[in-house]
Amino acid sequence: MSQSKEREVVIRAKDLKKTYKDFVAVNGINFQVYRGESFGLLGPNGAGKSTTMKMISSVSQRSSGELEILGKEPNTQGPEIRAHLGVVPQKDLLDRELKVWENLMVYGRYFGLSRKWLKGKIEELLDFAQLQDKRNAKADDLSGGMQRRLAIARGLVNEPEILLLDEPTTGLDPQARHILWDRLFRLKEQGVTLVITTHYMDEAEQLCDRLIVMDKGEIMAEGSPAELIKKYSSKEVVEVRFGADRNESVAKELEGMGDRIEVLPDRILIYAEQGEPLLAKIIESGKNPITSLVRRSSLEDVFLRLTGRTLVD
Protein backbone atom coordinates (compact mmCIF):
# COMPACT_ATOMS: atom_id res chain seq x y z
CA MET A 1 0.00 0.00 0.00
CA SER A 2 2.92 2.33 0.66
CA GLN A 3 3.71 2.15 -3.05
CA SER A 4 0.22 3.26 -4.05
CA LYS A 5 0.30 6.17 -1.60
CA GLU A 6 3.10 7.69 -3.64
CA ARG A 7 1.07 7.47 -6.82
CA GLU A 8 -1.09 10.30 -8.09
CA VAL A 9 -4.65 10.26 -6.83
CA VAL A 10 -7.16 10.97 -9.62
CA ILE A 11 -10.37 10.41 -7.66
CA ARG A 12 -10.72 11.18 -3.97
CA ALA A 13 -13.99 10.62 -2.07
CA LYS A 14 -14.43 11.49 1.59
CA ASP A 15 -17.65 10.85 3.52
CA LEU A 16 -19.41 10.86 0.15
CA LYS A 17 -23.16 10.71 0.55
CA LYS A 18 -26.12 10.75 -1.81
CA THR A 19 -29.73 10.73 -0.71
CA TYR A 20 -32.97 10.80 -2.69
CA LYS A 21 -35.64 12.19 -0.38
CA ASP A 22 -35.65 9.62 2.46
CA PHE A 23 -33.59 7.00 0.64
CA VAL A 24 -29.86 6.89 1.32
CA ALA A 25 -28.24 5.53 -1.85
CA VAL A 26 -24.63 6.13 -0.82
CA ASN A 27 -23.87 6.51 2.85
CA GLY A 28 -20.64 8.34 3.59
CA ILE A 29 -18.05 6.31 1.69
CA ASN A 30 -14.30 6.94 1.50
CA PHE A 31 -11.98 5.79 -1.27
CA GLN A 32 -9.19 6.88 -3.58
CA VAL A 33 -8.35 5.87 -7.12
CA TYR A 34 -4.77 6.13 -8.38
CA ARG A 35 -3.67 7.01 -11.88
CA GLY A 36 -3.28 4.03 -14.16
CA GLU A 37 -4.99 1.49 -11.94
CA SER A 38 -8.12 -0.48 -12.60
CA PHE A 39 -10.51 0.16 -9.74
CA GLY A 40 -13.72 -1.78 -9.18
CA LEU A 41 -16.96 -1.18 -7.35
CA LEU A 42 -18.38 -4.61 -6.62
CA GLY A 43 -21.80 -5.20 -5.16
CA PRO A 44 -25.30 -6.46 -5.86
CA ASN A 45 -28.00 -4.41 -7.58
CA GLY A 46 -29.01 -1.49 -5.38
CA ALA A 47 -25.66 -1.38 -3.54
CA GLY A 48 -25.03 2.23 -4.59
CA LYS A 49 -22.45 1.49 -7.30
CA SER A 50 -24.22 3.29 -10.14
CA THR A 51 -25.05 6.26 -7.92
CA THR A 52 -21.38 6.52 -6.96
CA MET A 53 -20.49 6.26 -10.63
CA LYS A 54 -22.84 9.10 -11.54
CA MET A 55 -21.19 11.32 -8.95
CA ILE A 56 -17.75 10.41 -10.32
CA SER A 57 -19.06 11.13 -13.83
CA SER A 58 -19.73 14.66 -12.55
CA VAL A 59 -23.36 14.66 -13.66
CA SER A 60 -25.02 13.92 -10.30
CA GLN A 61 -24.29 16.23 -7.39
CA ARG A 62 -23.46 14.73 -4.01
CA SER A 63 -25.70 15.39 -1.01
CA SER A 64 -22.74 15.84 1.33
CA GLY A 65 -19.08 14.95 1.80
CA GLU A 66 -16.15 15.66 -0.48
CA LEU A 67 -15.35 14.51 -3.99
CA GLU A 68 -12.40 15.52 -6.13
CA ILE A 69 -11.89 14.32 -9.70
CA LEU A 70 -8.59 15.08 -11.44
CA GLY A 71 -8.02 17.76 -8.83
CA LYS A 72 -11.29 19.53 -9.64
CA GLU A 73 -14.62 20.05 -7.89
CA PRO A 74 -17.40 18.22 -9.80
CA ASN A 75 -20.23 20.36 -8.40
CA THR A 76 -18.86 23.48 -10.06
CA GLN A 77 -16.46 22.18 -12.74
CA GLY A 78 -18.50 19.31 -14.15
CA PRO A 79 -18.06 20.11 -17.87
CA GLU A 80 -14.29 20.70 -17.49
CA ILE A 81 -13.88 17.39 -15.65
CA ARG A 82 -16.02 15.54 -18.18
CA ALA A 83 -13.73 16.77 -20.95
CA HIS A 84 -11.18 14.23 -19.60
CA LEU A 85 -13.56 11.40 -18.71
CA GLY A 86 -14.78 8.58 -20.90
CA VAL A 87 -18.14 7.22 -19.87
CA VAL A 88 -19.62 3.88 -20.89
CA PRO A 89 -23.11 3.89 -19.39
CA GLN A 90 -25.00 0.78 -18.35
CA LYS A 91 -27.40 1.23 -21.25
CA ASP A 92 -25.27 2.07 -24.25
CA LEU A 93 -27.25 5.22 -25.17
CA LEU A 94 -26.12 5.09 -28.78
CA ASP A 95 -27.93 6.97 -31.50
CA ARG A 96 -29.54 3.95 -33.09
CA GLU A 97 -30.42 5.80 -36.28
CA LEU A 98 -26.83 6.86 -36.98
CA LYS A 99 -24.17 4.65 -38.51
CA VAL A 100 -21.35 3.26 -36.39
CA TRP A 101 -18.77 5.81 -37.58
CA GLU A 102 -21.29 8.65 -37.27
CA ASN A 103 -21.88 7.81 -33.62
CA LEU A 104 -18.15 8.28 -33.01
CA MET A 105 -17.92 11.47 -35.06
CA VAL A 106 -20.90 13.12 -33.38
CA TYR A 107 -19.65 12.23 -29.91
CA GLY A 108 -16.17 13.54 -30.63
CA ARG A 109 -17.62 16.82 -31.81
CA TYR A 110 -19.24 17.36 -28.39
CA PHE A 111 -15.70 17.67 -27.01
CA GLY A 112 -14.87 20.31 -29.59
CA LEU A 113 -12.55 17.98 -31.53
CA SER A 114 -12.02 18.79 -35.20
CA ARG A 115 -13.55 16.62 -37.90
CA LYS A 116 -10.13 16.15 -39.49
CA TRP A 117 -8.59 14.79 -36.29
CA LEU A 118 -11.64 12.66 -35.60
CA LYS A 119 -11.50 10.99 -39.01
CA GLY A 120 -8.14 9.42 -38.13
CA LYS A 121 -9.20 8.61 -34.59
CA ILE A 122 -12.37 6.89 -35.75
CA GLU A 123 -10.35 4.49 -37.91
CA GLU A 124 -8.23 3.59 -34.88
CA LEU A 125 -11.26 3.14 -32.66
CA LEU A 126 -13.10 0.99 -35.20
CA ASP A 127 -10.03 -1.20 -35.41
CA PHE A 128 -9.69 -1.38 -31.65
CA ALA A 129 -13.35 -2.28 -31.22
CA GLN A 130 -13.22 -4.76 -34.11
CA LEU A 131 -15.99 -2.92 -35.90
CA GLN A 132 -14.20 -1.98 -39.13
CA ASP A 133 -16.53 -4.04 -41.29
CA LYS A 134 -19.56 -2.58 -39.51
CA ARG A 135 -18.58 1.06 -39.93
CA ASN A 136 -21.53 1.84 -42.18
CA ALA A 137 -24.07 -0.26 -40.29
CA LYS A 138 -26.68 1.50 -38.21
CA ALA A 139 -26.01 1.15 -34.48
CA ASP A 140 -29.47 -0.40 -34.18
CA ASP A 141 -28.41 -3.30 -36.42
CA LEU A 142 -25.44 -4.36 -34.26
CA SER A 143 -25.47 -7.28 -31.82
CA GLY A 144 -25.45 -6.55 -28.10
CA GLY A 145 -21.71 -7.24 -27.85
CA MET A 146 -20.96 -4.98 -30.80
CA GLN A 147 -23.08 -2.17 -29.39
CA ARG A 148 -21.15 -2.47 -26.14
CA ARG A 149 -17.84 -2.28 -28.00
CA LEU A 150 -19.10 0.74 -29.91
CA ALA A 151 -20.09 2.38 -26.62
CA ILE A 152 -16.57 1.74 -25.30
CA ALA A 153 -15.01 3.10 -28.49
CA ARG A 154 -17.21 6.16 -28.14
CA GLY A 155 -16.07 6.59 -24.54
CA LEU A 156 -12.47 6.66 -25.78
CA VAL A 157 -12.90 9.20 -28.56
CA ASN A 158 -11.61 12.06 -26.40
CA GLU A 159 -8.62 10.01 -25.15
CA PRO A 160 -9.82 10.28 -21.55
CA GLU A 161 -7.68 10.13 -18.44
CA ILE A 162 -10.29 8.01 -16.70
CA LEU A 163 -12.66 5.54 -18.35
CA LEU A 164 -15.81 4.82 -16.34
CA LEU A 165 -17.61 1.58 -17.16
CA ASP A 166 -20.96 0.85 -15.54
CA GLU A 167 -21.70 -2.89 -15.63
CA PRO A 168 -19.74 -3.33 -18.88
CA THR A 169 -20.66 -6.93 -19.63
CA THR A 170 -24.17 -7.26 -18.24
CA GLY A 171 -26.35 -9.03 -20.78
CA LEU A 172 -23.48 -10.23 -22.96
CA ASP A 173 -22.75 -13.84 -23.88
CA PRO A 174 -19.48 -15.41 -22.60
CA GLN A 175 -17.61 -14.93 -25.88
CA ALA A 176 -18.56 -11.26 -26.10
CA ARG A 177 -17.51 -10.79 -22.48
CA HIS A 178 -14.06 -12.22 -23.13
CA ILE A 179 -13.54 -10.03 -26.19
CA LEU A 180 -14.50 -7.02 -24.09
CA TRP A 181 -12.20 -7.97 -21.24
CA ASP A 182 -9.36 -8.28 -23.73
CA ARG A 183 -10.05 -4.74 -25.02
CA LEU A 184 -10.11 -3.37 -21.49
CA PHE A 185 -6.84 -5.10 -20.63
CA ARG A 186 -5.21 -3.38 -23.60
CA LEU A 187 -6.44 -0.01 -22.42
CA LYS A 188 -5.09 -0.63 -18.96
CA GLU A 189 -1.73 -1.52 -20.45
CA GLN A 190 -1.72 1.89 -22.10
CA GLY A 191 -2.10 3.65 -18.78
CA VAL A 192 -5.79 4.50 -18.86
CA THR A 193 -7.34 4.59 -15.40
CA LEU A 194 -10.37 2.31 -15.37
CA VAL A 195 -13.26 2.52 -12.90
CA ILE A 196 -15.64 -0.39 -13.26
CA THR A 197 -18.86 -1.27 -11.52
CA THR A 198 -19.92 -4.88 -11.69
CA HIS A 199 -21.89 -7.50 -9.88
CA TYR A 200 -19.88 -10.26 -11.52
CA MET A 201 -17.11 -11.47 -9.25
CA ASP A 202 -15.20 -13.12 -12.08
CA GLU A 203 -15.17 -9.81 -13.93
CA ALA A 204 -13.91 -7.97 -10.86
CA GLU A 205 -11.19 -10.59 -10.37
CA GLN A 206 -10.17 -10.43 -14.03
CA LEU A 207 -10.13 -6.67 -14.45
CA CYS A 208 -9.56 -4.94 -11.13
CA ASP A 209 -6.25 -4.21 -9.43
CA ARG A 210 -8.14 -2.98 -6.43
CA LEU A 211 -11.79 -2.79 -5.51
CA ILE A 212 -14.33 -1.84 -2.92
CA VAL A 213 -17.13 -4.21 -1.99
CA MET A 214 -20.36 -2.24 -1.55
CA ASP A 215 -23.67 -3.16 0.01
CA LYS A 216 -26.60 -0.93 0.94
CA GLY A 217 -24.68 2.23 0.14
CA GLU A 218 -21.68 1.38 2.30
CA ILE A 219 -18.20 -0.03 1.75
CA MET A 220 -17.86 -3.45 3.31
CA ALA A 221 -14.22 -4.06 2.36
CA GLU A 222 -11.42 -2.67 0.22
CA GLY A 223 -8.32 -4.20 -1.33
CA SER A 224 -7.01 -6.23 -4.25
CA PRO A 225 -9.03 -9.34 -5.15
CA ALA A 226 -6.25 -11.56 -3.77
CA GLU A 227 -6.00 -9.53 -0.54
CA LEU A 228 -9.76 -9.65 0.01
CA ILE A 229 -9.94 -13.38 -0.60
CA LYS A 230 -7.02 -13.97 1.73
CA LYS A 231 -8.51 -11.78 4.43
CA TYR A 232 -12.12 -12.88 4.32
CA SER A 233 -12.05 -16.42 3.00
CA SER A 234 -9.96 -19.58 3.11
CA LYS A 235 -7.98 -20.78 0.11
CA GLU A 236 -10.45 -23.37 -1.15
CA VAL A 237 -14.13 -24.17 -0.99
CA VAL A 238 -15.95 -27.49 -1.10
CA GLU A 239 -19.40 -27.25 -2.59
CA VAL A 240 -21.73 -30.13 -1.85
CA ARG A 241 -25.40 -30.63 -2.72
CA PHE A 242 -27.68 -32.99 -0.85
CA GLY A 243 -31.00 -31.72 -2.22
CA ALA A 244 -32.85 -28.60 -1.12
CA ASP A 245 -34.73 -30.42 1.65
CA ARG A 246 -31.61 -32.03 3.18
CA ASN A 247 -28.96 -29.31 2.93
CA GLU A 248 -29.92 -27.68 6.22
CA SER A 249 -29.89 -30.89 8.29
CA VAL A 250 -26.69 -32.28 6.73
CA ALA A 251 -24.95 -28.96 7.33
CA LYS A 252 -25.48 -29.42 11.09
CA GLU A 253 -23.82 -32.80 10.91
CA LEU A 254 -20.87 -31.30 9.04
CA GLU A 255 -20.18 -28.71 11.73
CA GLY A 256 -16.56 -28.70 12.81
CA MET A 257 -15.33 -29.67 9.37
CA GLY A 258 -13.33 -26.96 7.58
CA ASP A 259 -12.91 -23.37 8.76
CA ARG A 260 -16.50 -22.26 8.17
CA ILE A 261 -19.78 -23.49 6.68
CA GLU A 262 -22.33 -21.50 4.68
CA VAL A 263 -25.71 -23.01 3.82
CA LEU A 264 -27.34 -21.70 0.64
CA PRO A 265 -30.77 -22.81 -0.61
CA ASP A 266 -29.26 -25.12 -3.22
CA ARG A 267 -25.90 -26.11 -1.72
CA ILE A 268 -23.54 -26.15 1.24
CA LEU A 269 -20.17 -24.35 1.10
CA ILE A 270 -17.38 -25.56 3.37
CA TYR A 271 -14.31 -23.34 3.51
CA ALA A 272 -10.86 -24.93 4.06
CA GLU A 273 -7.22 -24.49 3.15
CA GLN A 274 -7.22 -27.86 1.39
CA GLY A 275 -10.47 -28.86 -0.31
CA GLU A 276 -9.78 -32.35 -1.65
CA PRO A 277 -8.90 -34.01 1.69
CA LEU A 278 -11.95 -32.41 3.25
CA LEU A 279 -14.25 -33.73 0.51
CA ALA A 280 -12.75 -37.20 0.95
CA LYS A 281 -13.43 -36.94 4.67
CA ILE A 282 -17.07 -35.96 4.03
CA ILE A 283 -17.58 -38.93 1.73
CA GLU A 284 -15.82 -41.27 4.17
CA SER A 285 -18.19 -40.15 6.90
CA GLY A 286 -21.00 -41.74 4.91
CA LYS A 287 -22.64 -38.59 3.59
CA ASN A 288 -23.04 -39.03 -0.10
CA PRO A 289 -23.59 -35.69 -1.81
CA ILE A 290 -25.58 -35.64 -5.06
CA THR A 291 -22.87 -33.46 -6.56
CA SER A 292 -19.60 -32.12 -5.20
CA LEU A 293 -16.97 -29.66 -6.31
CA VAL A 294 -13.70 -28.28 -4.97
CA ARG A 295 -12.76 -24.81 -6.17
CA ARG A 296 -10.67 -21.77 -5.29
CA SER A 297 -12.24 -19.12 -3.09
CA SER A 298 -13.56 -16.13 -5.04
CA LEU A 299 -14.89 -12.66 -4.39
CA GLU A 300 -18.36 -14.21 -4.31
CA ASP A 301 -17.26 -15.95 -1.11
CA VAL A 302 -15.89 -12.69 0.25
CA PHE A 303 -19.22 -11.02 -0.37
CA LEU A 304 -21.10 -13.92 1.20
CA ARG A 305 -18.89 -13.69 4.26
CA LEU A 306 -19.34 -9.93 4.56
CA THR A 307 -23.09 -9.71 3.94
CA GLY A 308 -24.52 -13.18 4.35
CA ARG A 309 -25.91 -12.91 0.81
CA THR A 310 -24.83 -13.87 -2.69
CA LEU A 311 -23.99 -11.19 -5.27
CA VAL A 312 -26.57 -12.24 -7.84
CA ASP A 313 -29.84 -13.16 -6.12
Binding site: V59, E80, A83, L85, L93, E124, F128, Q130
Partner: protein, 277 residues
Protein backbone atom coordinates in the same frame (compact mmCIF):
# COMPACT_ATOMS: atom_id res chain seq x y z
CA UNK B 1 -5.90 -5.12 -35.25
CA UNK B 2 -3.62 -2.40 -33.97
CA UNK B 3 -3.51 -0.91 -30.52
CA UNK B 4 -4.77 2.58 -29.92
CA UNK B 5 -2.38 5.47 -29.89
CA UNK B 6 -3.39 7.04 -26.68
CA UNK B 7 -2.38 10.22 -24.91
CA UNK B 8 -4.80 10.34 -21.96
CA UNK B 9 -6.09 13.83 -21.24
CA UNK B 10 -4.02 15.54 -23.94
CA UNK B 11 -6.27 15.95 -26.98
CA UNK B 12 -9.17 17.84 -25.43
CA UNK B 13 -8.70 21.41 -24.27
CA UNK B 14 -11.27 21.78 -21.46
CA UNK B 15 -11.55 25.55 -21.92
CA UNK B 16 -12.41 25.09 -25.58
CA UNK B 17 -14.57 22.02 -24.98
CA UNK B 18 -16.96 23.78 -22.61
CA UNK B 19 -17.67 26.57 -25.11
CA UNK B 20 -20.24 26.42 -27.91
CA UNK B 21 -21.78 23.20 -26.55
CA UNK B 22 -25.23 24.34 -27.67
CA UNK B 23 -23.99 24.71 -31.25
CA UNK B 24 -22.49 21.23 -31.15
CA UNK B 25 -25.82 19.80 -29.98
CA UNK B 26 -27.45 21.71 -32.83
CA UNK B 27 -24.83 20.48 -35.30
CA UNK B 28 -25.66 16.88 -34.41
CA UNK B 29 -29.38 17.44 -34.74
CA UNK B 30 -29.08 19.28 -38.04
CA UNK B 31 -26.93 16.40 -39.27
CA UNK B 32 -29.63 13.90 -38.27
CA UNK B 33 -32.27 16.08 -39.93
CA UNK B 34 -30.26 16.24 -43.16
CA UNK B 35 -31.09 12.57 -43.66
CA UNK B 36 -34.74 13.40 -44.19
CA UNK B 37 -34.29 16.81 -45.74
CA UNK B 38 -36.47 15.82 -48.70
CA UNK B 39 -39.45 15.23 -46.42
CA UNK B 40 -38.85 18.50 -44.53
CA UNK B 41 -38.59 20.40 -47.80
CA UNK B 42 -41.67 18.76 -49.33
CA UNK B 43 -43.74 19.40 -46.20
CA UNK B 44 -42.45 22.96 -45.86
CA UNK B 45 -43.36 23.76 -49.45
CA UNK B 46 -46.43 21.55 -49.96
CA UNK B 47 -48.19 22.79 -46.84
CA UNK B 48 -48.37 26.48 -47.82
CA UNK B 49 -49.22 25.76 -51.43
CA UNK B 50 -52.15 23.56 -50.46
CA UNK B 51 -53.28 26.01 -47.77
CA UNK B 52 -53.12 29.01 -50.04
CA UNK B 53 -54.98 27.26 -52.82
CA UNK B 54 -57.72 25.92 -50.56
CA UNK B 55 -58.11 28.71 -47.98
CA UNK B 56 -56.62 31.75 -49.65
CA UNK B 57 -57.99 31.27 -53.11
CA UNK B 58 -60.98 28.97 -52.48
CA UNK B 59 -62.53 30.54 -49.40
CA UNK B 60 -61.03 33.87 -50.43
CA UNK B 61 -63.03 33.85 -53.67
CA UNK B 62 -66.19 33.28 -51.66
CA UNK B 63 -65.37 35.97 -49.08
CA UNK B 64 -64.26 38.52 -51.64
CA UNK B 65 -67.40 37.87 -53.76
CA UNK B 66 -69.63 38.41 -50.72
CA UNK B 67 -67.91 41.61 -49.67
CA UNK B 68 -68.32 43.22 -53.05
CA UNK B 69 -64.63 42.89 -53.79
CA UNK B 70 -63.75 44.78 -50.62
CA UNK B 71 -62.25 41.72 -48.91
CA UNK B 72 -61.70 42.01 -45.16
CA UNK B 73 -60.64 45.32 -43.63
CA UNK B 74 -59.93 46.64 -47.09
CA UNK B 75 -57.62 43.88 -48.32
CA UNK B 76 -58.21 40.64 -50.19
CA UNK B 77 -58.87 37.57 -48.08
CA UNK B 78 -55.57 36.07 -49.24
CA UNK B 79 -53.67 39.12 -47.97
CA UNK B 80 -55.66 39.00 -44.74
CA UNK B 81 -54.86 35.37 -43.89
CA UNK B 82 -51.29 35.34 -45.20
CA UNK B 83 -49.54 36.75 -42.07
CA UNK B 84 -51.50 34.37 -39.84
CA UNK B 85 -50.64 31.35 -41.96
CA UNK B 86 -46.99 32.36 -41.94
CA UNK B 87 -46.82 32.69 -38.16
CA UNK B 88 -48.74 29.45 -37.77
CA UNK B 89 -46.25 27.63 -40.01
CA UNK B 90 -43.31 28.94 -37.99
CA UNK B 91 -44.98 27.86 -34.75
CA UNK B 92 -45.70 24.39 -36.13
CA UNK B 93 -42.12 24.11 -37.37
CA UNK B 94 -40.58 24.77 -33.95
CA UNK B 95 -43.21 22.66 -32.20
CA UNK B 96 -42.00 19.50 -33.96
CA UNK B 97 -38.41 20.25 -33.04
CA UNK B 98 -38.88 20.90 -29.33
CA UNK B 99 -41.32 18.11 -28.52
CA UNK B 100 -40.12 14.92 -30.25
CA UNK B 101 -36.35 15.41 -29.80
CA UNK B 102 -36.86 16.30 -26.13
CA UNK B 103 -38.95 13.20 -25.49
CA UNK B 104 -36.31 11.21 -27.38
CA UNK B 105 -33.56 12.80 -25.31
CA UNK B 106 -35.13 12.12 -21.93
CA UNK B 107 -37.52 9.20 -22.40
CA UNK B 108 -37.22 7.17 -25.61
CA UNK B 109 -33.53 6.80 -26.52
CA UNK B 110 -32.27 8.95 -23.60
CA UNK B 111 -29.63 10.52 -25.82
CA UNK B 112 -29.41 13.66 -23.69
CA UNK B 113 -27.79 11.55 -20.97
CA UNK B 114 -25.06 10.47 -23.39
CA UNK B 115 -24.51 14.08 -24.47
CA UNK B 116 -24.39 15.26 -20.86
CA UNK B 117 -21.61 12.73 -20.17
CA UNK B 118 -19.36 14.91 -22.38
CA UNK B 119 -18.29 18.46 -21.67
CA UNK B 120 -21.70 19.72 -22.84
CA UNK B 121 -23.84 21.07 -19.97
CA UNK B 122 -27.58 20.60 -19.40
CA UNK B 123 -28.22 24.24 -20.24
CA UNK B 124 -26.29 23.91 -23.50
CA UNK B 125 -28.39 20.89 -24.44
CA UNK B 126 -31.59 22.92 -23.90
CA UNK B 127 -30.14 25.80 -25.92
CA UNK B 128 -29.10 23.37 -28.65
CA UNK B 129 -32.64 22.04 -28.92
CA UNK B 130 -33.90 25.62 -29.18
CA UNK B 131 -31.36 26.58 -31.85
CA UNK B 132 -32.46 23.65 -34.00
CA UNK B 133 -36.14 24.43 -33.42
CA UNK B 134 -35.63 28.03 -34.48
CA UNK B 135 -33.61 26.87 -37.47
CA UNK B 136 -36.41 24.57 -38.54
CA UNK B 137 -38.99 27.32 -37.90
CA UNK B 138 -36.98 29.79 -39.97
CA UNK B 139 -36.59 27.30 -42.80
CA UNK B 140 -40.35 26.66 -42.83
CA UNK B 141 -41.00 30.38 -42.58
CA UNK B 142 -38.76 31.18 -45.55
CA UNK B 143 -40.35 28.53 -47.75
CA UNK B 144 -43.79 29.78 -46.81
CA UNK B 145 -42.79 33.37 -47.49
CA UNK B 146 -41.51 32.39 -50.90
CA UNK B 147 -44.87 30.89 -51.76
CA UNK B 148 -46.74 33.90 -50.31
CA UNK B 149 -44.64 36.24 -52.42
CA UNK B 150 -45.29 34.11 -55.50
CA UNK B 151 -49.03 34.30 -54.82
CA UNK B 152 -48.78 38.06 -54.27
CA UNK B 153 -50.14 37.63 -50.76
CA UNK B 154 -47.56 39.84 -49.04
CA UNK B 155 -45.48 42.77 -50.31
CA UNK B 156 -41.74 42.19 -50.62
CA UNK B 157 -41.05 45.19 -48.39
CA UNK B 158 -42.66 43.41 -45.42
CA UNK B 159 -40.53 40.27 -45.62
CA UNK B 160 -38.07 41.09 -42.82
CA UNK B 161 -40.81 42.30 -40.48
CA UNK B 162 -42.89 39.20 -41.10
CA UNK B 163 -39.94 36.92 -40.46
CA UNK B 164 -39.19 38.75 -37.21
CA UNK B 165 -42.76 38.67 -35.90
CA UNK B 166 -43.31 35.02 -36.88
CA UNK B 167 -40.03 33.88 -35.39
CA UNK B 168 -40.62 35.81 -32.17
CA UNK B 169 -43.93 33.97 -31.76
CA UNK B 170 -42.23 30.71 -32.67
CA UNK B 171 -39.56 31.28 -30.01
CA UNK B 172 -42.11 32.17 -27.32
CA UNK B 173 -44.19 29.11 -28.09
CA UNK B 174 -41.16 26.82 -28.40
CA UNK B 175 -39.84 27.92 -25.00
CA UNK B 176 -43.18 27.20 -23.32
CA UNK B 177 -43.45 23.81 -25.02
CA UNK B 178 -39.85 22.98 -24.14
CA UNK B 179 -40.53 23.73 -20.48
CA UNK B 180 -43.62 21.49 -20.56
CA UNK B 181 -42.02 18.64 -22.51
CA UNK B 182 -39.01 18.65 -20.16
CA UNK B 183 -41.45 17.75 -17.39
CA UNK B 184 -42.95 14.70 -19.11
CA UNK B 185 -41.71 11.51 -17.50
CA UNK B 186 -43.55 9.16 -19.85
CA UNK B 187 -45.00 9.13 -23.32
CA UNK B 188 -48.74 8.97 -22.75
CA UNK B 189 -50.15 10.28 -25.99
CA UNK B 190 -49.36 13.79 -24.87
CA UNK B 191 -48.54 15.11 -28.36
CA UNK B 192 -51.88 13.98 -29.77
CA UNK B 193 -53.61 15.81 -26.89
CA UNK B 194 -51.57 18.96 -27.47
CA UNK B 195 -52.27 18.77 -31.20
CA UNK B 196 -56.03 18.38 -30.79
CA UNK B 197 -56.72 20.51 -27.75
CA UNK B 198 -54.07 23.23 -27.96
CA UNK B 199 -52.70 23.64 -31.49
CA UNK B 200 -55.95 23.16 -33.41
CA UNK B 201 -57.99 25.53 -31.14
CA UNK B 202 -55.13 28.03 -31.22
CA UNK B 203 -55.33 27.99 -34.99
CA UNK B 204 -59.09 28.53 -34.89
CA UNK B 205 -59.38 31.07 -32.06
CA UNK B 206 -56.51 33.42 -32.87
CA UNK B 207 -58.16 35.57 -35.48
CA UNK B 208 -56.50 33.50 -38.17
CA UNK B 209 -59.41 33.31 -40.60
CA UNK B 210 -61.40 36.33 -39.41
CA UNK B 211 -60.75 39.28 -37.09
CA UNK B 212 -60.74 38.24 -33.45
CA UNK B 213 -63.27 40.99 -32.71
CA UNK B 214 -65.87 38.95 -34.65
CA UNK B 215 -65.86 36.43 -31.80
CA UNK B 216 -68.09 36.86 -28.74
CA UNK B 217 -66.19 38.86 -26.11
CA UNK B 218 -66.07 35.88 -23.73
CA UNK B 219 -64.11 33.87 -26.32
CA UNK B 220 -61.68 36.61 -27.24
CA UNK B 221 -59.35 35.97 -24.25
CA UNK B 222 -58.43 32.67 -25.92
CA UNK B 223 -56.93 34.73 -28.69
CA UNK B 224 -55.24 37.14 -26.30
CA UNK B 225 -53.40 34.20 -24.70
CA UNK B 226 -52.38 32.73 -28.03
CA UNK B 227 -48.94 33.67 -29.40
CA UNK B 228 -50.41 33.16 -32.86
CA UNK B 229 -52.84 36.04 -32.40
CA UNK B 230 -50.10 38.40 -31.25
CA UNK B 231 -47.90 37.42 -34.21
CA UNK B 232 -50.85 37.71 -36.59
CA UNK B 233 -51.66 41.22 -35.40
CA UNK B 234 -48.03 42.26 -35.79
CA UNK B 235 -47.85 40.60 -39.20
CA UNK B 236 -50.99 42.30 -40.49
CA UNK B 237 -49.62 45.63 -39.39
CA UNK B 238 -46.26 44.98 -41.06
CA UNK B 239 -47.72 43.37 -44.17
CA UNK B 240 -50.56 45.58 -45.36
CA UNK B 241 -50.52 48.29 -42.73
CA UNK B 242 -53.49 47.23 -40.61
CA UNK B 243 -53.80 49.94 -38.01
CA UNK B 244 -52.94 49.09 -34.43
CA UNK B 245 -52.16 51.35 -31.51
CA UNK B 246 -48.39 51.78 -30.91
CA UNK B 247 -48.95 50.57 -27.36
CA UNK B 248 -50.55 47.38 -28.70
CA UNK B 249 -47.67 46.92 -31.15
CA UNK B 250 -45.24 46.84 -28.24
CA UNK B 251 -47.62 44.79 -26.12
CA UNK B 252 -47.61 42.08 -28.77
CA UNK B 253 -43.82 42.06 -28.90
CA UNK B 254 -43.55 42.16 -25.12
CA UNK B 255 -46.00 39.29 -24.64
CA UNK B 256 -44.17 37.02 -27.10
CA UNK B 257 -40.78 37.88 -25.60
CA UNK B 258 -42.16 37.25 -22.12
CA UNK B 259 -43.34 33.78 -23.14
CA UNK B 260 -39.84 33.03 -24.40
CA UNK B 261 -38.09 34.28 -21.28
CA UNK B 262 -40.46 32.52 -18.88
CA UNK B 263 -40.36 29.32 -20.92
CA UNK B 264 -36.57 29.15 -20.89
CA UNK B 265 -36.44 30.10 -17.20
CA UNK B 266 -38.54 27.01 -16.45
CA UNK B 267 -36.65 24.87 -18.97
CA UNK B 268 -33.05 25.20 -17.74
CA UNK B 269 -33.51 23.97 -14.15
CA UNK B 270 -35.65 21.04 -15.26
CA UNK B 271 -33.06 19.92 -17.80
CA UNK B 272 -30.36 20.14 -15.12
CA UNK B 273 -32.47 18.24 -12.60
CA UNK B 274 -33.41 15.40 -14.96
CA UNK B 275 -29.89 14.94 -16.27
CA UNK B 276 -28.44 14.76 -12.76
CA UNK B 277 -30.62 11.87 -11.58
Amino acid sequence: MTDLRFAPGKVVDPKRAVKFGAWRVAEYRFYSMSKWMGAIFAFGLGNPILYLISVGLGIGALVDANTGGQGILGVSYLQFVAPALLASAAIQGVMDEVTFPTMDGFVWDKLFFAINATSVSARQIADGVMIVALGRGLFTCLLYLGVLLAFGAVPFSSVLGLIASSMLAAWGWAAVMLAITARLERDEGYFAIIGRFVIAPMFLFSGTFYPLEQMPIYLQPLGWLSPLWHATELGRNLSYGMEIEPSMFWTHIGYLALLGVIGMAFTYPKFAERLSR
